[in-house]
């Protein structure tokens, strides 16, 4: 990123256009998967199948959206996995979860591009999506019926359900965090955040950015 740009706007670039598109494809797929999945998970939500043109189409498109999600998330994974490696600061952050929730960031150590919570979201999502795609394929009867036993399918669908609940939970955390921490959403809509946002939440990242050690955007 160029200094002139940051000077002019007093913002810092956080995500490139590619990363944003990648994110929103993933996000969209995840939302559609959650809706269609929940529709088939609990009878009281079956009405949601109407959004997909009915139960049959819901059943038919859900796994395909899953495939889209998987590959899309794979893109995000390769973009961000390095930045999500765990470090000592993350342990400190974790130990001060109470302050995190209270918004007392002044008590927190300086954070790099991602805090421990974000990293956990990343790693949980990575793991859960892997579980979901694997178990999903086992119960994708249209193409893969003959490769597994019915008992294996039963385990698979149970695992799929549990993983989906976990993934949706993680997603709630993720979305709520973005809503709660004001100024966050623009990182994914416009690609940039304000300097103050970066100072407040990811000061170390900002320092590194300023020092030219890091780039704001994902590759």
């Amino acid at each position: 990123m160029s200094k002139t740009h940051s000077e002019k706007s007093s913002t810092v670039q956080r995500y490139s256009a590619g990363a944003r598109v990648n994110h929103w494809i993933t996000a969209g797929s995840l939302v559609l998967l959650a809706i269609s999945g929940l529709a088939l998970f609990h009878p009281s939500l079956f009405f949601l199948t109407a959004l997909f043109g009915g139960g049959e189409t819901t059943r038919a498109v859900h796994p395909w959206i899953g495939v889209v999600l998987f590959f899309s998330f794979l893109g995000l994974f390769f973009r961000f996995w390095r930045a999500n490696l765990w470090n000592r600061t993350d342990n400190v952050w974790m130990s001060k979860l109470r302050d995190v929730l209270a918004g007392n960031e002044e008590n927190m150590p300086e954070i790099g591009k991602y805090n421990a919570g974000q990293k956990l979201v990343f790693w949980f999502m990575s793991a859960l999506i892997l579980i979901l795609i694997t178990s999903g394929i086992v119960v994708w009867d249209e193409y893969f019926y003959q490769y597994t036993s019915i008992d294996q399918k039963r385990y698979a669908i149970l695992v799929h359900s549990l993983a989906a609940i976990a993934a949706i939970s993680v997603w709630i955390v993720h979305v709520y965090a973005a809503i709660w921490v004001k100024g966050t959403i623009r990182a994914m809509t416009r690609g940039s955040v304000t300097g103050g946002w970066a100072w407040r939440h990811h000061r170390q990242w900002l320092r590194e950015l300023v020092a030219g050690k890091a780039t704001g955007a994902g590759k």
Binding site: P43, E56, S169, K182, G195, V210
Partner: protein, 300 residues
């Protein structure tokens, strides 16, 4: 089948509260006396004919069983097992008519996510309602007997309807009607149990000391029952389950997980909302902006 008799529905898939059935019919059952069955496949032919199903002409793979498994078009199948009785060293050719058992506690219905795609009538018949079926295959996972099959043509699940269309007009199922030796009989569950008891007595008198009725309690009993010469080991009859019950995995999936999962998600959402209400938004201050500015400036 489409539901012909909505007044009789006592259970409905993916429906939390089924309104009480307006009518209550007497429980029915089909009894298949394996010891009387000659494996003629008249039941298979009758099933194909009555239900107007079109199975493919297959190939021989070294056995009498054709088709080789239940399919979306073959709702019943004679399964042939050549079993040498270790006690007598005599060959016994065990021929079992396979098909939906019409469980009192149907696993398919429990697993089905589509409201009204699987129903149970007050006479005990478990029926698939094609127009509501979404083809997800959950019924296959719910079934302890490996019965339902998804059609390649229309991606809907199919299985024996116990000829509900015939039964509802006072006829016996097509298979029972066609059975030349009356190995398949149909009537009230009570009458069938009584008939079966007579058969068991006869078999015991002929030396089958373990003869018995197969009406597995694990699924609340079934509306299709067997008389077996060796009721102590159902598995010799082409893997008829010994003690069938809805798989605990399915129970977990459609029980605890379904409710706990939804509760967890709800709680997550509520927690977020309450947190926001209590803690308020985490906002960037002017000071933060200035500090950032300072940092940038310092770097330049």
């Amino acid at each position: 089948m489409a539901t012909l008799q909505s007044q009789d529905i006592v259970r409905r898939s993916a429906t939390t509260f089924t309104p009480p059935a307006a009518r209550h019919q007497i429980k029915v059952a089909k009894l298949i006396d394996v010891s009387k069955c000659i494996g003629c496949k008249a039941c298979q032919a009758a099933c194909l004919e009555w239900n107007n199903l079109r199975e493919d002409v297959g190939v021989n793979v070294g056995q009498y069983q054709n088709p080789h498994d239940l399919t979306a078009n073959s709702w019943t199948l004679m399964r042939f097992t050549e079993w040498v009785n270790p006690e007598t060293d005599n060959l016994e050719w065990l021929i079992r008519k396979d098909g939906c058992m019409h469980c009192e506690d149907p696993g398919c219905l429990k697993a089905c996510p589509s409201p009204g795609a699987i129903v149970q009538y007050s006479n005990g018949i478990v029926d698939f309602v094609s127009e509501n079926c979404i083809g997800c295959g959950y019924c296959i996972k719910g079934c302890p007997f490996n019965i339902p099959r998804i059609s390649k043509a229309d991606s809907k699940a199919y299985k024996c309807t116990l000829c509900v269309d015939r039964v509802s007009v006072g006829q016996a199922p097509a298979c029972a009607k066609s059975c030349p030796t009356q190995a398949i009989v149909f009537g009230t569950k009570e009458a069938m149990l009584e008939h079966a008891a007579g058969r068991v007595t006869d078999l015991k008198s002929r030396g089958y000391k373990n003869a018995g009725i197969y009406d597995p309690p694990g699924v609340g009993g079934t509306h299709v029952m067997y008389v077996l010469h060796h009721a102590d080991k159902p598995q010799i009859y082409a893997s008829l389950p010994n003690n069938p019950a809805i798989s605990p995995i399915v129970g977990l999936w459609k029980g605890t997980v379904k409710y706990a999962g939804m509760a967890a998600l709800g709680l997550m959402a509520v927690f977020g909302f309450m947190h926001h209400v209590v803690a308020g938004p985490n906002e960037v201050t002017e000071e933060d902006e200035e500090n950032a500015k300072k940092l940038k400036d310092a770097a330049e």
